[in-house]
Amino acid sequence: MNRDDDKKYFHLMVERLREISKRPIKLMEVCGTHTMAIGKSGIRTVLPVEIELVSGPGCPVCVTADSDIDAFMGLARDHRVTLVTYGDMMRVPGSAGSLAELKAEGADIRVAYSSLEALAFARSEPHKEIVFLGVGFETTAPATAHAVKSAVAEGLQNFSVYNLHKTVPLAIRALLAGDGVQIDGLILPGHVSVIIGEAPYAFIADEFGVSGAIAGFEPPEIMAAIVRLAGDINAGAPRISNIYPKAVKPEGNVVAQGLLDEVFAPGDAEWRGLGVIPGSGLDFREAFTSFDAAKRFAVERREVRLHRGCSCGEILKGMIKPSDCPLFGSLCTPERPIGPCMVSSEGTCAAYFLYNDDANIVERGRP
């Protein structure tokens, strides 16, 4: 399709949605990339008033627990290792400052675009202990698995991973099973689904009676997902649809799944706002535990009390809007973030802050 066809299709979807929207519907986009795409595309300004979009727990930075950030930073402070992280994590505040602040104090902290860059540091600087911060869902976890396997093959002894990888479906389950959560349909993450396929979402419709649509990230794709969900919800026929078939195969990426299964086993993981969700983490299997930085350096995680008033937890569950948080926009801004939802480029609060999603958009053509 060319751009003009895309536009026609988009407007067709907008029209269709107006026709079928009869009662209030609350949809959650699970994935942070969707959150940002929705903010940036201005989709909310053409939605019927009945449709409400809320953001879910699918931003890896946002769901990282304070205690994990503290523990990771402790590695640089106490063990003088070189920390390697994705850029988004640099500014997330733990209870004692952020990685960016630690770097300014002189710690060796580097930003990488992939786990293989971290591996390259280990290779070229054998006298240094390199610890990679493994953050992300099924999308980035295979890359970490690949790096660890490469380290085994090369016999690299100075490489390890502080492993915070998490899996999405169990978080969705915890969310839907939670008290006070009212979601009619889910826009499911396109990138994660490329890896895991359709099957892991079946329980959403079967057990919770909630519809889900796997969606791409272009405005027409997001709009198509919303139309599909609204139709399913109206019909009272919950199901999981894949409307991103050009990228997502029903069975997913079997090779990546095999890699994950070879290196990791399900373990417990702490999610900010959702607490510990059993089985939602990816622990190293026996054969790879020597690459677990938490074990190698005997890291102790200490419970951290959240900043008073920080509502990231409720926001991640779609229970309140960012603007309902007492810190939003006053004490907590992208320059001086308090909660991770304001830090990440995919964070719900950052998207609201930047694109002012609540309101404020002008009458057509009359600013």
């Binding site: 988009f10 053409v46 802050f353 930047l354 002012n356 404020n360 002008v362 053509g365």
Partner: protein
Amino acid sequence: MTETIRLAHGSGGEMTSRLIKEIFYAAFGGDVRDANDSAVLELPRGRTAFTTDSYVISPMFFPGGDIGKLAFCGTVNDLASVGARPIALAASFIIEEGTTFEDLRRIAGSIGEVSRATGIPVVTGDTKVVDKGSGDKVFITTSGVGSIPDDIDYHPRNIRPGDAIIVTGSIGDHGYCITALREGIDIKSAVTSDCAPLHGLVEALWPFGAHIRAARDATRGGVGMVLNEWAMQSSRGILIHEERLPVKDEVAGGTALLGLEPIYLANEGKMLIAVSPEKAAEVLDCIRAHPAGADAALIGNTGDDKPRVVLETAWGTQRLVPVPRGEILPRIC
């Protein structure tokens, strides 16, 4: 052996004199025997514009220009933004020990070249040398004075509801060119920095008098930043249309790849102009007729009294254009 700058070149003695004579007088013209501690200018009656700016761009040489041309054009454009005709510039150099004479000669040479082409002289300057590691090759500060015609008053406070917003050409070229260079993206295809003096283009608009409300060169923070400043300073909302923004195909594609937005990328040869609705079409034609404004476009209008910038997207949706934060590219000019 390659001749390089040493600390002694900044000592104020013989080597300093030689440096000034062989590099700067050679490039800018003028007679060393006339040298004095200040240049003495005769300014026309009326208001004088006075501005200064520092340049630290990395890399110093890039497709479409270098730090010298940039330092000259940047200050000329700051004068042009208030409607002034530039009269003279000053240029000060902070040079890191170890910089080659060849690089310095090239930089001074491009200042001389654009000075001769525009007829705007560099009348005074200074050089300092810092030890290796205390700077990064060459930093330049330029200052300039210009005279403003009596009936010209370009300031965002003059912006009124319904005014048209014009950009004088494709946006984001400079920022994209430098970023692509740093990221190692192959851009031999087309995109060069748009670094150019714009005072001639602005002078061509003088006859429109007060119909021209405001002008500003969209450097760091790009068009998005200038429009947000205008919205705040004029207490007006501004609506712009994504599809009317002139963006080169390579810039559109490359920025998408890099996760950047052309609207926030620095320009070094583009002006934003706010103009009355009555004269908008005529002004646009006038700008397009000028060699520096061939790709000019009317991108939007001012409106209600809620200061913010809204973009109507290609999808027909609307979103805010927030003030750029955080990740602005360092050392872009």
